[in-house]
Assembly symmetry: C2
Homo-oligomer: 172 residues x 2
DNA sequence: CGCCTCGCTATCATCATGGAAGTCAGTTCC
DNA sequence: GGAACTGACTTCCATGATGATAGCGAGGCG
């Protein structure tokens, strides 16, 4: 009766969550992106129990998001650094940050993404690299890919007459 | 000794995770975006225990991501629909989907975002709405916002000489 | 030598999860 | 009009996951 794994589900969201969906994992990644590498740094920044931190780090290393390496033999010291797969997670963190800022920061944002050149706050939007059109628009849809099974097709098929992933409209 | 809450942390990522960071929550949202609204739909699609689904739905409603409403009195039937705040979560889901596709779909993607006009697969990139420049670039940084406390500033200050949220370079 | 740091591991009380079964209002079948 | 169904849950309970605290081993510091 252990926690159900999402690993075998065909959905890429489920597969991804299987690696980063646990309590603490994403915050650890956040700190890794902020430049932290050492056990004590994470532990102090997060206020997490050492046992838990240890388990999460092992899981993230196994998932290929972090790499553990010894940077000193005497004294023995380890560090955890983001792998390319881990670095690639940044956009998820940034969209989550933006969402959090817009909905759960009544006193104003505590972190902002700014244009280093102008100092102006940036407003992240997802666009298609080729056309630069916002992916939120009704011109983009989700479709079953080459490796889709029945279940996936069923889920996508029941997609509503709204557009991408079910949106109705963008409220400014 | 209950599960630690992220709600009081100033970080927008932590605040957001406090609402959607539990096991199942994001998959429920995924299905909601796919057009599902009813208890039985979610339960069947996810293979989740009814008790768990019930708790997660209540939490998502309390967090303001879903709205529960009765659409029939006889027989009594409820449905769960995305609120504006929930709809606003879509970009996070899409970046996660893209990340999952690129890293955990060895047999090829099972879901793809495509341009409805051309049918070509879209490649999501985060850009600044005003300048359309990719936010991944070194020209964007994270800075402490108006509501940042000491802890937040400390974390941002120790940011490495890499660029945004610690990236080194984009690997194609 | 005594004390401190870093990176953990060990223990243990308590909480959350997952599975199965039951409830309640109404609907449909025959 | 009674049996069987459906949808949306609730209750219960055996376990696994968490969180707090304590301790350990290798080494450094004064």
């Amino acid at each position: 009766m252990q926690r159900k794994s999402f690993r075998t589900m065909p959905c890429p969201i489920a597969r991804g969550l299987d690696r980063v969906g646990e309590w603490w994992s994403i915050l650890i990644l956040r700190d890794a992106f902020a430049g932290m590498t050492r056990f004590e740094e994470f532990r102090e920044s997060l206020g997490i129990a050492p046992g838990m931190l240890s388990r999460r780090l092992v899981a993230l290393v196994e998932a290929g998001l972090l790499e553990r390496r010894r940077y000193s033999d005497t004294p023995p010291r380890e560090e955890y650094v983001l792998t390319p797969r881990g670095e690639d997670f940044r956009p998820v963190l940034l969209t989550l940050l933006d969402w959090g800022n817009r909905h759960f920061a009544p006193e104003g944002p505590s972190v902002q993404i700014v244009d280093a050149a102008t100092g102006a706050p940036a407003e992240p939007v997802l666009v298609d690299r080729a056309t630069l059109r916002p992916i939120e628009a009704p011109e983009f849809r989700l479709v079953a890919g080459p490796a889709a099974g029945r279940g996936m097709k069923a889920r996508l098929a029941r997609e509503r007459p709204r557009d991408l992933l079910g949106r109705k409209e963008i409220s400014a």
